[in-house]
Symmetry: D2
Subunit: 438 residues, 4 copies
């Protein structure tokens, strides 16, 4: 039985193809910059947006009607498993990612919930084995249920902390069972609504306590996944504790957790924090903490997380540039944490949207490779900073100077200092030529 009977296998047909069910850029086995596109991109489908979301927004109910809607909760969950693997196969992509709440119905008790999870996990495992598809990451949903109204690890209620711990434990076990390559911690409601009633010190201490417990338990059970923090500045809370990469990394450093976590950077979260996507990737890369990405895009004129499928080629190109400079994402991947618009409510849109996003990243990969191969950016950077490779600059970098020696140096030099133009406008035009020529 097929959930998407009208959708054929999506294949690469290249530029010029008018077939909406074909890739124009993503050619999995094509070698770019020394690896296949598939190896570079490690594409993943987000279970929640693809199989659970239905277009609900704060002003309206769902618009998408799926064939599994009428089933009982557990059967619905099982049907979604099949739909997931059908979609992965038809898209020809290797990974998926989920929260506990996406895959199985919550029960009245923890025990009941875990039992439901076990049933679905068994089926996921079976399908993974038969299809060769893999789990990029899993995580625990610690924000939807009303118990998390005040947060999870940072709840003002210790009972909720305990419940969160039990849930994370279960999901670490599930990750191990399914061979997840990463495990993600997105803050959910870990933040504050108002400073007036918040003990931020205790809340941050508790958040660190929970992460330490997770690290310890993964070690105990031999779950070797890469642990990832996903920064977001706001929404649903006024202020989320993992505001951006720098904030999250500072937290990790403060609490002795830096060695155990990398970042899962989401484009739309970056822009909500006042940064570009590539900025957050750069910061993470320089900290040795670029783990994985949530591929999507926001709307700069809207102040909430719109989670659109990424089609901005400037953004995908500069993201792939950072990833190539990072020697790839390691265990991480390009997870499409993106939802079809509420107005794109037909089943086929799930495919059209993924094709749009995947092609945009494939295009970005090719453009980024060309930027590097032709030294479009790197050549400029080498030249700009050349003064640090000789003379006083090289000595400064080598640690041979102090304020006194530099004052002496300056006093002997002719003023004024000569600088050179950055030629930024010309550089941007060159980037345009590269992006539109691959």
């Amino acid at each position: 039985m097929s959930f998407f009977p009208n959708v054929p296998q999506i294949k690469y047909e290249g530029r010029g193809s008018k077939n909406p069910f074909a890739y124009k850029h993503y050619n999995p086995k094509e070698v770019v910059f020394g690896k296949t596109m598939e190896e570079h991109l490690r594409i993943s489908v987000a279970y929640w947006h693809t199989f659970n979301a239905n277009g609900t927004d704060p002003f309206g109910v769902g618009t998408a009607v799926r064939s599994w809607d009428s089933l009982s909760p557990l059967d619905r969950s099982l049907a979604r498993v099949e739909a997931n693997f059908e979609l992965l196969e038809k898209l020809g992509v290797p990974y998926y990612a989920f929260h506990d709440a996406d895959i199985a119905p919550e029960g009245e008790t923890l025990a009941e919930t875990n039992k439901n999870i076990d049933v679905v996990v068994a089926k996921l495992k079976e399908y993974q084995q038969s299809t060769g598809k893999k789990l990029l990451w899993n995580t625990a949903n610690l924000f939807t249920n009303p118990r998390y109204v005040h947060g999870a690890s940072t709840s003002s209620n210790a009972e909720v902390f305990a419940y969160s711990a039990a849930t994370i434990k279960k999901m670490l076990e599930v990750g191990k069972e399914l061979g997840a390559e990463n495990y993600v911690f997105w803050g959910g409601r870990e933040g504050y609504e108002s400073l007036l009633n918040t003990d931020m010190g205790l809340e941050l201490d508790n958040l660190a306590r929970m992460l330490h417990m997770a690290v310890d338990y993964a070690k105990e059970i031999g779950f070797g996944a890469q642990f990832l923090i996903e920064p977001k500045p706001k929404e649903p809370t006024k202020h989320q504790y993992d505001f951006d990469a720098a904030t999250a990394i500072n937290f990790l450093r403060k609490y002795g957790l830096k060695d155990y976590f990398k970042m899962n950077i989401e484009a739309n979260h970056a822009t909500l924090a006042g940064h570009t996507f590539e900025h957050e990737l750069r910061v993470s890369r320089l900290e040795g903490a670029l783990g994985s990405i949530d591929a999507n895009q926001g709307d700069y004129l809207l102040g909430w997380d719109t989670d659109e499928f990424p089609t901005d080629l400037y953004s995908t190109t500069l993201a792939m540039y950072e990833i190539l400079k990072n020697d790839g994402l390691g265990k991480g991947g390009v997870n499409f944490d993106a939802k079809v618009r509420r107005t794109s409510f037909e089943d086929e849109d799930l495919f059209y949207a993924h094709i749009a996003g995947i092609d945009s990243f494939a295009h970005g990969l090719k453009a980024a490779a060309k930027l590097i191969e032709e030294k479009v950016l790197d050549g400029v950077i080498e030249e700009r900073y050349s003064s640090y490779r000789e003379g006083v600059g090289a000595e400064i970098v080598a640690g041979k100077h102090d304020l006194k020696s530099l004052e002496q140096y300056v006093l002997t030099k002719q003023q004024p200092i000569k600088n050179r133009s950055n030629r930024l406008e010309q550089l941007r035009a060159s980037v345009n030529e590269v992006i539109t020529s691959v």
Copy 2:
């Protein structure tokens, strides 16, 4: 000779006074929460906005005409010294703060510039001694001169790094000479205009190198001032490296500088970064890094640093709450990094504006003290987090749990968990009553 002959000594006359040249709230010797207002607030006047700025903006030339405008550069600098101390005395406040470029004209060479500085510093010292007024902090202006077009410590040009080092050296010596209680590092142009042409790794390394050199030199000359970083997210650059407190503290931690620096938090910089002023104060306080504040306010609907005199009593109250919770600002103070509006171009406005700002902080101090004394916020917080002072919560805080023991705990408990309302609306009403009743 007087620079402000129409301005009388500003005295406290209390609520109800209609005298525009009087304080309605700031009563320096009045004891609030165990200390005098003067001791709490440690008020400082910003030299640049008060004596150098003239109302220029990107669309128009200056509107203020000062009596010293027609003098030669050095005489103008010397006149401003007199005006500064007259203003401090008339306002009855103890501190001032400056950049090198504020107090003396720049020469053709570093030597010439330093000579000019020495002349003015001698006069400042003399006036400090005769009036008892003190220097809250000084700093180096590493952004106005064209040499800093690409940054100072983070310039792509090593010659500029060297020049910056020499300038910082001089200003550390000036700080020592004048007994500055703090020394501030505001990033100026330390950031990037575009990632396309920026070697962020080298730039951050260089920034750290410079700060280490400054720490070392201050130690060498016995200059015991508190060192302060002033975060700002953007402007003039697209991205300033000291984006916000968390980012700056992460940088300090990464480069082994955390012990040597605290934060100088500016209200308008906080809001440009997407935070409230009180958020940045809270973050700094919890990091043991709340050093001093730049008191001003921005306009939430405008995207640049408007540096308005602070009159929002919500903001001043919550700022003073954080400061009281921090046991005060230590060596730091409340520096009015605020400029009169371009439309407030008369000499008297310098006084009216400072009175407005100082009274708003004095009002905020009284309201914050009342909030604490009546446990308006603290009572709510104690109650909200009470579950962490007993039972499983106390055990979690004491480090007695792991994921397994917490799962066991949850499995034995009745579901669902009961949470309590935050009653935020009621709390905000209570805060209103406090602010409008002091």
Copy 3:
């Protein structure tokens, strides 16, 4: 039977009362500026936020549990009627407001829906008569149902236009039946998601067609309510056609509708559009189009409609200043289009929140009256523009000049022109003194 058995009648106890179930400022019969507070404020409760909302947000399900939740749809609707009038009576406020979808369950067909509405309307009418409470306004919800996925009057689907028309017809009849004093048109999904696929010209023409039909039908049935447009810039769509007051009024002018509509200004919509609340009120007032207000507040650092209960006294004071300058709101009122925070999920919070909001508006009313009585703002304005009451200024205003005569005038005058300081900082301090002294 009581829905709020723990809540007593809310009475005025004045400043200093610590009773959370009492007004500190709102004293309905107290005369301020020539009218009672009740007459000035004409307070209204929003049915949707108060009786239908349960704290759902995009990241979590509802947190509030109400006593009517377990009833069947129609019984639930009827129970809410009782709860509504109990709340109105306990709060001691005269008005309420609703959408069709708030008061009755939607049926399978229009006929069925209308039948449900009739049942509930009969009960509302009965309760209005027995309690004396009144309907400030009603409206049609043309955005929640999936049929409105592409808009209502501006849908790309003519069937949806027709359905919207039928719905508006019914709600005009309901308004007449219940004596609604106003009828509101909030755009819902009238806007676009992307210009790429939008025929904006046709959509705006259709919107105007619908409004003309509504005007005509109201006339036909003798429904004399004031018609109101409620501007909002974005959310749920990327761009809502009624972006702000100026945009909405331009639309009305273009389509010959200006005489039939006024504005219903919402604070949070104003700030999302980049304006202050008082700006939108001022613009509407000067256009003779200030009809009513949706009282709430947003969070300047968040980019979505948070609909918080208003407690910012600066905002309530300046809003009431505009309303007093408008000689009141006429048929309009102060409708609390505000929802309790998701964390304020207990029944009592519905009261605490309304008390907070009502007291903040009562406080604002008293402060605004004092600002006017003491000519704090008006005195400044009279003085600032005095040059237009004599000489060349008076002649300009009287239409006696053209470019040539003004050039002649300038050529005879001494340059440079002398301007005076605005003293804005001092004025803000004066406003603080007024707000904190009433």
Copy 4:
């Protein structure tokens, strides 16, 4: 004598050229969509950013050193005339645009200023005649001089209104003398800093009075230029009266000025107002008011007018799409109201930046033409709104329905209504293919 001796004539070399002094897309005589590129784009250079600006920003002095800097004021102005025409010729573009203050030094009196202007205008006219270059538009700078501290036409000081009138008179005469095809009114400081001290009603009335006087005088002297309003939402004032196109058009309608003015839409002003560039163009087009454009781009993450040279191909493509749909800009043109970055301070950057911007618009023109020719967008739109071309939809558009007839229609129809997906993701992918294939 040459001002740009190192810059050759800029010619079209096409894609693949690595010559930085060549166009890759702009081929003036190439026919696209029925007209030459030159005729479509009508490119203009902005005098102020190109010849007067030097890189000054609020945190630093100028970085650009031009060969005319050392001349006396009037000689400097005359040298800039020569530089302007050399640049226009080397770029091979037909138009330029200026404010009075850009071209001639201001004198002590109006008479003296006008005399300076006359000297420069004579030279401009001579160069226009000898080169064939033309004036796209001129305008009066009513914001830089301190006299405009409180606005010009909306100043609280009637003397300033008079002075503004005299200045506008002169510039209308200059426009006539030089054959300007348009005359622009950008608000400058026409707006408010605070509502607390602003008589908005009088200010708007005065603004309208001034525009009527300008219309009358242009008629009197036979100056047939198109009059343009340039909307901007904020900066330098907190709120500019011509906030956006809809606001400006509402103002024009209210004051009987709609027939005499069109819009000059600037990309960066659009985004500061919360709109896309293409939105403002669409709104203006539908109002029959799309007059001309100020081509530049902002930075969505920065809150001020950065006036960058436009290189975002999404923006240039969608702008050109609106312009093609408008049957071109008529008398208007594409004026590069863009400044080289402060870091692009060398003379050559003036060329590199214009080449980047011009090529981006030429690229956008080709992409927009292809979008239209291949019906990429128009085909979708025709299909989406097809229900309004038949049946009830056609009847609605033809004005044959009212609320009653539509209710009757709905009551006879089967529910629920069927809508179709918008397929926005697929459409965006198609747009990418077009933009990167021309």
